[in-house]
């Protein structure tokens, strides 16, 4: 067991290191931040001073070495534009992204499970088939386009919801959050639904498949034979059993919700990490790009590692296979 965990940990470290090399090397080659950042009217002396101050005069290997050493210390460089540590800049925007992501997950569970169960219990009804058609659309429509349509319809035509931004926030456990005031809710509603659509379709499909499988099991027949009301059979016996795969898969998909938040945040001007990275790419703010990519890759690797270890605890075949290989 510990051999397995150590191997997986080492693998993760290697992946992170390869990523840092790729990201740093690639980002270095994009363009010349000096042209972007220094006043075009500055004379050569000022330009040289600025290059030295930003550390751009050193050879690339040395820059990478400093980056690596500092990264281990938790310092990923300072933004060229904001002149703040890149890590802080990103962490400051993380709560907004996290709130959006959790809101989206919450919506996809709360809406997806009942809709999926309904479609599973009434597979041939009009409503059941409409739900399934809707879930296909949720998979295939590009989410930025759906977001634009939301803005078009709810903000421009009806004028009932704001078109973007975060609006006012309330303090909750030391964090600024939107969901505690009506005003804040009106701002988070559209982006959260937009971000949720893809996962919602996934949850609908999973719960439908789960329901159709569970409903024919013996314990459901037994529960019915005992005379338990149909409501209780569905709400307790069926629901509990379809929850397991749904929750597992949603946990795995959390990382991809954060990745997709980039699109939603850009459409709705939501002040999170995703909007920051797009702006940083536009402005060639290298330290922020590198820091963001490293943080998100790190998150993914941690999620995958935890899942792998949990699986190996639950299913010994996984780790045996790995040790043999």
């Amino acid at each position: 067991m510990s051999v397995f965990i150590i191997r997986r940990l080492l693998q993760s470290v290697v992946v992170i290191w390869v990523m840092s090399l790729l990201v740093f090397g690639g980002v270095y080659l994009i363009g010349d931040p000096i042209d972007m950042l220094i006043n075009p009217e500055a004379d050569q002396e000022d330009i040289d001073a600025a290059i030295r101050a930003l550390g751009l005069d050193k050879p690339i290997t040395e820059q990478y070495w400093f980056f690596l050493i500092n990264a281990v210390k938790g310092d990923l460089g300072s933004s060229f534009i904001f002149n703040e540590p890149a890590l802080q800049l990103i962490l400051a925007r993380m709560p907004a992204t996290m709130e959006l992501a959790f809101a989206a997950l919450f919506l996809s569970i709360v809406l997806g499970i009942p809709l999926g169960m309904w479609a599973g219990l009434h597979p041939n009804s009009l409503s059941g088939r409409s739900i399934m058609t809707g879930s296909i659309l949720g998979f295939s429509l590009p989410s930025f386009w759906v977001g634009i349509m939301f803005i078009m319809f709810f903000a421009v035509v009806l004028g009932v919801l704001p078109s973007g931004g975060r609006g006012e926030t309330t303090e909750f456990l030391g964090l600024q959050v939107s969901f505690l005031s009506w005003k804040g809710l009106s701002y988070i509603l559209l982006p959260a639904i937009n971000l949720a659509l893809f996962k919602l379709s996934l949850v609908i499909r999973l719960s439908r498949a789960g329901t159709q499988e569970v409903i024919h099991q013996d314990y459901i027949k037994f529960a019915r034979a005992k005379g338990i009301s149909e409501k209780r059979v569905i709400l307790v016996h069926v629901l509990k059993n379809i929850m397991i795969p749904v929750v597992t898969i949603l946990g795995l998909e959390f990382g991809s919700v954060i990745a997709f938040a980039v699109v939603t945040e850009t459409v709705f001007a939501w002040p999170g990490m995703g909007k920051l990275i797009i702006e940083s790419i536009d402005q060639l703010d290298r330290p922020v790009i590198v820091a963001y990519l490293m943080i998100i890759v790190f998150m993914f690797i941690v999620i995958n590692l935890v899942v792998d270890i949990l699986y190996s605890v639950l299913d010994p075949r996984v780790r045996l296979q790995d040790v043999k290989a």
């Binding site: 790729l22 990201v23 994009i30 429509l141 930025f144 803005i151 078009m152 990275i277 890759v297 993914f300």
Partner: protein, 307 residues
Amino acid sequence: MTASTGEAVIETTGMSSELSPFRRFISDYCESKVAIAGAIGVLVVAFIAIFAPWLSPTNPYDLATVDIMDSRLAPGMQMMSGVTAHVGTDGMGRDMLSAMFYGLRISLGVGAMSGFVALLVGVCVGLTAAYFGGRVDMLIMRIVDLQLSFPAILIALVLLATLGKGVDKIIIALIVVQWAYFARTVRGTALVERRKEYIEAAACLALSHRRIVFRHLLPNCLPPLIVVGTVQIASAISLEATLSFLGIGLPVTEPSLGLLISNGFEYMLSGKYWISIYPGIALLFTIVSINLVGDRLRDVLNPRLER
């Protein structure tokens, strides 16, 4: 391409029929009306994309004919040159219909090109893994699994943040994102096919590895590949549009549908809906049509479904 598809299917499923394989495939496909609509949609889109320069009322990228006075005209109004802008003009005075035709050309071209190269790469890698097995297989599938554990948009973001904008760069990014799906699909099918007698027979005839893999194994792995390929082209077009919308995909000089939507987005809040909406509808029409065709192909090409 379609003709060989039909033949491949019949060979694998071993169906006997009086109709020629191609006819049989077509008649199976046409049993679904929605699928016919999808196929017509794909043909229309492909026709527009190929003949865009001849179909467009104006050339939207000829700076000599684009007039800033025409900017943001509502649909149906006449431009300075006397041409009617049926779906309006954009912020720079370009006829939206022409811009959309050209945009469709770029979107479809990028999607098809990246899908095709990714298919080639994925097929070679996947077949190698399945045919040789052992360590080669393990190594390749580790890489595939690792890549598939990251969402496509994140990989594309990493690549484009490091490579920069450009048609070639986005095609590279899309290939990197997609090849793993093809590799996994072809490996799965090839592993099953490899154990069948005809491969054993070919090996007994002492045919070369290359001949067995490409002449015997590959043709029998085609049906699932065609389905995955169709769906992947749709998702590549969608991903390209998303990346261009974010401003990290194509450069402004080569606007795809995604970039047109993005350009129109800033005018939408002031009620000038057409700049964003019409390219969006075109994008949606394209993606949905391709998906409908892919969905039907999945049913027709699946030998396990009884018909």
